[in-house]
Symmetry: C2
Subunit: 328 residues, 2 copies
């Protein structure tokens, strides 16, 4: 049993294709025998689920992952894709200072998709959700030409104000919790045709957002927060723009792990560039008033200034930026 | 201005393709200038949205629509597809006895998709949401090989208990609110290569769920409810199975509109079959205690019995049933 949501007896014999099982058989397979998250009032099997929203508010966010764009099944197992899809969403919930409650999931896939692929996706989604104290309370399964995983995550603020992107003020300190550049390094390795080192490839396959750090930062008095999905500079830019401030990053304070330097050296790449612009690690970036001690696990990375845009050591960064869909 | 959410000055010049506009330009285009639903605490533009959940609970449901499976852009305009995607989800919220609050939307599409297609989708989604008192508070836009529209809808119960599929009891009366067979008739017309009569083609393109009827039925004391997305017999079957009861439908009470009889006659089809098995009209089917007067707009359609399964005039229905994804 990999987590508290997983069924005790996973199927072992070949279950065939999605078309053979059918829509309702597939839904039963994804939901049967799972424990539901504590805030569930009504779980899967009805027209809609019902969740408790104890403080009278609910946080909601959605992400869509497409095979060949966000993941490749020759680079990641279905279980890893399921974990990544859920992690990306729950990181957004966490970045509001909220606690993940539950998810609803849409799966579109060809009829020839092996049921074992869906089993893997579902197990990965349940495992990642379970790590954050959440679970899957509903969904939709439809046929399509390509595999698309759509996840909507809900969270609760436990009485706190949401921490938005727009509350940063000049004089605030910029703090980081979580890893930078690891997923970008893993992607670079996979693109060269290698499958190791596992430390970086695994970081691309399954991010490790610091779920507890969002509510922790909110409690400590964070003025603004975002999860780093597009890259440190790009997402610091989103914070700066939303808050109407400038952000200067102290490059000496940005952690560049020795493992990334080794991998970059072997590939002839620049570890510092991965760290500054690589997305998908889903670390948290937050601003704190200068008189607030950063919570445990957070690193001071720079300062919030009057002005606009993001600088590194007072200068514009000279490389290409983060990820944007449809960008040419 | 088509509804209270629509911007006063829709774009008129050709805006090019999605790839030319880029992800962030696209998101701005979908959300800019829209009024947000009244329960919005925090709208689009952050890691997540925040909604009020006044009675401490939230209803949530999700649906995925795929081009070529759920809709065809040679049969429906993007505006109609947007309305249908939202209507299907809001009908599920309504079927719990809940009032729609808000939606989050995932759009996956090729980079070559005209921006006008996205404009149409967005306008349709906002229009339908507005008709139900809701709006779009967040979303995700990604690149993919085919057009996929993923919608998650949230609703509030306003202090009422949710009306599930499982509460029907022997002796209850089965009631219907909304249309049956119209979308199926429209689909049959389109499949034959015709584009009219508009009354039925339009019903396939844009369903008209009776949004107010769900909360109305809940207030009146409905014991169980479902929205008819798969077909009357199929969804009555879902009610019967979840409640552990049988349902007998009185065929003389099932409304077969004269317009459907005319269309069926022209196509050599069976209007009664459309009415009994056609999905996607999103009428509501609910059970009421025998001593409850059905609310205005509801029609008595049959009775709940001890036993299991669905019969028509006491006998099994002899035709094929409703829609199931991946069914062969």
């Amino acid at each position: 049993m990999c987590c508290r949501w997983c069924p005790p007896d996973p199927p072992t014999s070949d279950p065939g294709s999605v078309a053979e099982l059918g829509e309702f058989g597939l839904i039963a397979r994804i939901t049967a025998g799972r424990g539901l998250p504590p805030d569930t009032v009504l779980g899967p099997g009805d027209d809609a689920a019902v969740l408790a929203a104890a403080d009278g508010r609910v946080v909601v966010t959605t992400d869509v992952l497409v095979e060949g764009v966000h993941f490749r099944l020759d680079w990641s197992t279905p279980h890893q894709v399921g974990r990544k899809a859920v992690a990306a969403n729950l990181a957004d919930v966490t970045a509001m200072g909220a606690v993940p409650i539950a998810l609803v999931v849409g799966l579109a896939m060809p009829g020839c998709t092996p049921v074992s692929t869906v089993d893997g996706l579902a197990a990965g989604m349940w495992e990642e959700a379970g790590q954050a104290g959440a679970g899957i309370v509903g969904g939709d399964v439809v046929s399509s030409a390509e595999l698309v995983v759509s996840v909507t995550a809900l969270g609760g603020l436990r009485g706190r104000a949401p921490v938005t992107r727009s509350g940063a003020r000049p004089g605030d300190v910029l703090g980081l919790c979580g890893r930078l550049g690891w997923a970008a390094a893993g992607l670079a390795v996979l693109r060269r045709g290698f499958r190791s080192p596992l430390a970086v490839v695994g970081a691309h396959q399954v991010p490790e957002p610091p779920y507890g750090a969002g509510p922790q930062a909110a409690t400590a008095g964070a003025t603004a927060m975002i999860d780093i999905s597009d890259g440190l500079l790009a997402d610091a830019g989103h914070l700066a723009e939303a808050s109407g401030v400038g952000i200067d990053i102290n490059s000496a304070a940005v952690p560049v792990a020795g493992r990334l330097v080794e991998v970059a050296s072997a590939l002839g790449a620049d570890a510092r560039h991965w760290v500054l612009t690589g997305g998908e690690d889903h670390a948290l970036l937050a601003c704190f008033p200068a008189d607030v001690a950063l919570p445990a696990g957070w690193t001071e990375l720079g300062v919030v200034l009057q002005g606009r845009g993001v600088t590194v050591d007072g200068r514009p960064y000279e490389g290409p930026g983060g990820w944007e869909h449809f960008a040419r």
